[in-house]
Assembly symmetry: C2
Homo-oligomer: 115 residues x 2
Amino acid sequence: MNISPANLFALLSHDTRLRSVMLLMAVDELCVCEFTAVFGAAQPHVSRHLGQLREAGLLRDRRGGQWIYYRLNPELPSWARDILDAVESGMRDQRPFVDDRAFIADSMDRRACGE
Amino acid sequence: MNISPANLFALLSHDTRLRSVMLLMAVDELCVCEFTAVFGAAQPHVSRHLGQLREAGLLRDRRGGQWIYYRLNPELPSWARDILDAVESGMRDQRPFVDDRAFIADSMDRRACGE
DNA sequence: TCGATATATTCCGAAAAGTGAATATATCTC
DNA sequence: GAGATATATTCACTTTTCGGAATATATCGA
């Protein structure tokens, strides 16, 4: 991954992208339709921003059937990882991040119950 | 200060602004002409970007004679301070930040010697 | 193969950000 | 007060980013 610090911040400067990254700090892997459900946003909107994060090397994607799952790139340079960790710990208790995680946790529960 | 996380990242997404903030993590206070000297940039360019950081509440300014000194706002919310600390520690050894600090240290020395 | 679902991409117009040049304002020095 | 220095702002322009709508692509299940 060849990304500059200023570039990383540009990626994090949009709410959709920031919330996506924050979610993936907590949940390991999510498919696009889950992002759209959490954000209440249109699918092309979410897909575009996830695409930008992927192109920059911040996220990796993987196809599983008709779904495409996104996760954090495990090979981020350490300085980028450090910053993301600080972002996560510094804003863990703020909205909308708490709500986003709660939403996902809830839908995971439902999935586990077979609903 | 009423700044959102995404807003903070937008401020840090421009090299001039990022380098300015990084310098002020190390040096406490600098006037505009020192920034222009370090960056080798035009004065209006630097002034504009420092102005954005000030308007957003990230920096404070103070007039001292014909100079205007900028410093980090000491009343940043803790989450913002945490992120800045991580940025600083994560990129301390990278260019151009090392060089920027070296430049400033050098000119401080010269000032101390009365040159 | 056909229809349904999930995702990505393209097109286009609007809004925002960035830049260089010129100019305005404030302060200092003489 | 006049000129010099430091800083901020405005103007005109270019570039980038963003959003919505439409469309393309891929997979699944019957």
